[in-house]
Symmetry: C2
Amino acid sequence: MSLRHALLGLLARRPSSGYELTQMFDRSLSTSWHAGHSQIYPELGKLEAAGLIRLVGEGARRSKTYDITDAGRVELRRWLVEAEPDRSQRSESGLRLFLTPLLDAADRKQTFERDLAHVEHELAALKALRAVQADAAEPEVFAPQVELGIRINTVLGEWLREQISTAS
Amino acid sequence: MSLRHALLGLLARRPSSGYELTQMFDRSLSTSWHAGHSQIYPELGKLEAAGLIRLVGEGARRSKTYDITDAGRVELRRWLVEAEPDRSQRSESGLRLFLTPLLDAADRKQTFERDLAHVEHELAALKALRAVQADAAEPEVFAPQVELGIRINTVLGEWLREQISTAS
DNA sequence: AGTACCATGTAAGCCGTTACATGATTCT
DNA sequence: AGAATCATGTAACGGCTTACATGGTACT
């Protein structure tokens, strides 16, 4: 269960409300993790009860802003540095790719083209993000990670283009 | 829920027992999907009840071998070609990478080195697999996918090495 | 006054993991 | 005969998604 560490990590970046955390999962973390508000609010309650975060203010519209505590920072560092990473992944795209050889040439080409369109869309978004962040004072995402995303999507695109041309 | 389509896909490759399917998840599909036997056996029952697979033989030790039906093949193709892919992923490694900037330089370097060791291990395994499959009559994994894995792990390794050298 | 969005919460049900349980076959 | 491995199944529990539910604030 990494949700608690994801929340600790986001709160270590800056104090936030549950609503803001929900948005961060969609905007910044969507490529690696997702959580809906119905999962986040109860977990914030548990983290507060465990003393890893604390309520630092209530704002307009009953919003509750939390911040990480020293105990939370210790736990977050322990998890990041000392805990053995769980490297298992769940990727429907990977599964689809694995099953692609079952399709005939026409269907296979079609799915590769669909995937290529998606990869190019991602690539354009990442390059736009890189351009924006070059100026930004406080980048939302770690710049080297944008660069990694660009490189991975680039090789993916190259591979897909090769598959499309050899399939026909 | 892609488990049913993963099972349909594996059975479209060759008729298999639940036990063999469990092993295929570990051996061939572990980088994109995982399922334990306690999930597989009940799902095979549901697929059979739905007419997408059928029992084609019972062997030693009460083993039950299933094969995909024509209806199953139709459903598999529909899912692969026509269904909108769910591209959301759950990757603890991605989450860890996202949170890495919170660490100090020494801790960050340490985690990058741990990740690099793992990437190099994967890369060696994939290159060995590529060498073995070059000779094999009936490759277990689609050769181009091994190539893709090699390329992605290569850029990952390069990126990690850059992070390690600029972090110090 | 009505609509849209901000903000938090709970409940039902499904999916997946871990643990429990049993029997068959092979090897030493 | 005992251990290891093959092979299938069920049960309990926890995580995650979807749906239900409510109220506050801003805009027109």
